[in-house]
């Protein structure tokens, strides 16, 4: 790999890292469900490692770490954001290109640390290493957030006032502000946590220590695999809670942007959407941060899921309303990117419905740790965010590589994946409710629950993961052989990145930077009055790019 400071190369490197993580993470989830039955015979080292008592807990945490940190947190913000934010605001670079490079490599190193921590036989040392890796990831994300914030504040091109910012940029900006606060707090708490574990300090009070430091504090000398597994998972949630918002915010921006582009309609109530994005950030930080501050960095609360579900309610309703109103009576172009955006909306709505259940604290308390939460969380955060990422990839692929991803293969991939994840995660909700409903003695292994359900989930999971090979094949084939895109703007989109050749040249905009004359969503009927004398190059088109000067709408 080249050590480039170019924002486009850096964004691509983040995306490749995310691709690697997502496939390793899926393989791990298979391993989790299947166990090591077949593999042990062939791979002796794996058998030895697998014999460790905390195996399943650590595998789940490794799966979660890779997916949450390197896919859901890094890809939408640092990946697509680094690539397209400067292009969309009319800048040639991030505010501090050297810092972008630094954060990229810090993230790669933290990936290596986190992954290697699971292969260390001594579990205590592995845990310390994992926390160190997370600390490095937090530091890199914090610096990256500062870089993003400054870029949006100071590097916007001529005419790119705040109301004209595309919603993707708004989402990246608000997310950077949010990340700045969240990652600062996480960094503070990880400092204390590490010094408790390494230097024997006493930052966390006894009740918290029972959760956070159980093996060292409660069973000196003895090794308790059960406690240890719980410990790993607690620590993981300690860090992952905050990431829910950080992962979802850019996805909201991307989906809104794409739906407007493919519906050929302005975003309905664009200002309200911006406010809703701010609301997600503000609520997210206030609730999570208040919880952290008020409890003195106490990581554990049984109401976490309830709080998450409630706090998203109002802004989520505004976003959903805007999406539906934008789509209302629109002649949506059903491209693969549009399908994945719609898939995001559908899954988000489903998740909202089941989240209402979790918002009742009694149910939340009963259902915490059950399959219900697993299903809910995966569907809303994991799969929905992945759909937004795939939508963004299909949308921007022509710009990034000058070739299209294969549309028909993409659609097959979408429908099979959509059906697949529903078959995997919806029965999980039901399974979780049956398991935890009061007065029932059902458990997954018991005769009471039809054994066909877990088996069905397993089969659906294998099929869904196998379907992802279609995507991988599509990606590799399209990179090398895909249909080339000659025009700058194949989707007839309005934002600035579509005014430059594909792929963008190293200096992005050539000799002169573009000036911006209008908002980001001028689709459909003309918004500015067209002079009467105009015979009109642009009036017969159903969109006006941001860089299009007013007299060009009128000129012949």
């Amino acid at each position: 790999m080249r050590f480039s400071s170019d924002h486009k190369a850096i964004g691509l490197h983040y995306l490749w890292l995310a691709l690697l993580s997502v496939f390793v993470g899926m393989a791990l989830s298979l391993l989790l469900r299947f166990g090591f039955a077949g593999a042990e015979a062939r791979l002796p080292w794996l058998a030895e490692w697998a014999a460790a008592p905390q195996r399943n807990g650590t595998l789940a945490v490794l799966h979660g770490s890779l997916m949450v940190f390197f896919v859901l947190t890094a890809a939408p913000q640092a990946g697509f954001g680094s690539y397209f934010l400067p292009l969309q605001i009319g800048a040639r670079e991030m505010a501090f290109p050297a810092l972008s490079r630094l954060t990229l490599w810090a993230t790669v190193i933290s990936f290596a640390i986190i992954t290697s921590s699971f292969f260390i036989p001594a579990a205590e040392r592995g845990l310390n290493l994992w926390i160190t890796g997370v600390a490095l990831f937090c530091l890199a994300s914090l610096v990256s957030a500062i870089n993003f914030t400054v870029t949006v504040i100071d590097l916007r091109g001529a005419g790119m006032s705040l109301p004209r910012l595309p919603l993707t940029v708004w989402a990246w900006f608000i997310n950077a502000l949010l990340g700045m606060l969240i990652f600062s707090i996480l960094l503070g708490s990880v400092t204390l946590l590490l010094s408790d574990r390494l230097a024997g300090t006493h930052f966390f009070s006894y009740s918290v220590r029972a959760f956070m430091l159980a093996p060292a504090a409660q069973v000196p000398g003895a090794f308790s695999p059960v406690i240890h597994q719980v410990l790993w998972q607690r620590l993981f949630w300690f860090f992952a809670q905050a990431q829910v918002y950080v992962a979802m915010l850019p996805c909201f921006g991307i989906v809104t942007h794409l739906l407007a582009t493919f519906a050929r309609r302005p975003v309905w109530k664009e200002r309200a959407v911006v406010l809703a994005l701010c609301g997600v950030g503000l609520f997210g930080f206030c609730i999570w941060g208040e919880h952290m501050f008020a409890s003195g960095l106490d990581p554990y609360s049984p109401l976490v899921f309830a709080v998450l579900a409630w706090s998203l309610g109002l802004p989520a309703a505004v976003l959903l309303m805007s999406w539906f109103a934008t789509l209302w009576r629109a002649r949506l172009q059903f491209t693969t990117a549009a399908l994945f955006s719609l898939g995001f909306v559908a899954l988000f709505l489903t998740g909202g419905a089941s989240g209402v259940l979790l918002a009742r604290s009694d149910i939340a308390r009963a259902a915490a740790n059950s399959d219900f939460v697993t299903g809910h969380f995966h569907l809303v955060m994991g799969i929905a965010a992945t759909f937004a990422l795939l939508a963004a990839l299909f949308f921007w692929f022509p710009k990034m590589f000058g070739r299209r991803l294969h549309e028909s293969l993409g659609k097959v991939h979408f429908w099979l994946t959509f059906a697949g994840v529903c078959c995997v995660f919806l029965p999980m909700h039901w399974l979780g409710l049956v398991e935890t409903s009061p007065g029932s003695n059902f458990h997954a292994g018991d005769a009471g629950v039809p054994a066909v359900i877990p088996a069905f989930i397993l089969v659906a999971m294998v099929v869904t993961i196998a379907v992802q090979l279609i995507f991988l094949g599509n990606l590799l084939w399209s990179l090398l052989r895909g249909e080339t895109v000659a025009e700058c703007n194949p989707w007839r989109a309005t934002t600035l990145e579509w005014s430059v050749p594909s792929p963008p040249p190293p200096d992005d905009f050539g000799a002169t930077l573009p000036a911006v004359y209008r908002g980001a969503y001028e689709f459909g009927a003309p918004v500015l009055p067209v002079p009467a004398a105009a015979t009109v190059r642009w009036v017969d088109k159903d969109f006006r790019p941001q860089h299009l000067a007013p007299d060009e709408t009128a000129a012949s």
Binding site: A95, I146, V150, L155, S195, T512, Y517, A549, D551
Partner: protein, 226 residues
Amino acid sequence: MPGKLAQHDIELIIEDIGRGGGGKPPQRNGGDDGDSDGARRRDSSRPPQQNRYYTAVIVAIVAILVFFLALASAYIVRRGSSANWTPVHIPPILWVNTLVLLLSSATLEFARRKLAKADFTAFGKLWMLTTILGLLFLAGQFVGWRQLQAQGVFLASNAASSFFYVFTGAHAVHLFGGVIALLYVAARKSDGTRLSRSAAAEVTSYYWHFMDALWVFLLALIYIGR
């Protein structure tokens, strides 16, 4: 590419909405950002391509403040929830250190005034004095640690001592960053193309004053929390 020619229209539109993109009204050369120097001049003395450094230091200060607030909230909650709290006796040299740091902020301000009057030799001297005072503060903090250790108070002795070492240590690390920035500004030979010396000095001074105020806050927190 469209959009290069219609300057009047841009200006009309921008007058309509009352401001240009990024607060930077485009002029004769049309769209431009920080890359080509001197293409645009603002009314203020600050060239637009340096705005990013001012913004960055303010944003970084907010982030660092949140970091220390997280530590402080942990301290307050931990202090309130523990039954047997053995307070740390603040080593007397810390009060001297505080004076040294306050003094360094003052010399830094004087240095900046000399720079504004283009009195470069006086600026250089006062700037070096600030740097030396900063290093003196760091050395003083180290002496304070040794004094505590001589009393048998170590990092892992009790919760109060742990917090004391982490507060002073984290602050020292951040202040050391400030010392490096001071040295960097002093070592600059001429005005850089992207970051002029006066801007670098101003940005560094923001950070330094913040470190100063942060130290007073932390000391007060430790003192009150005894």
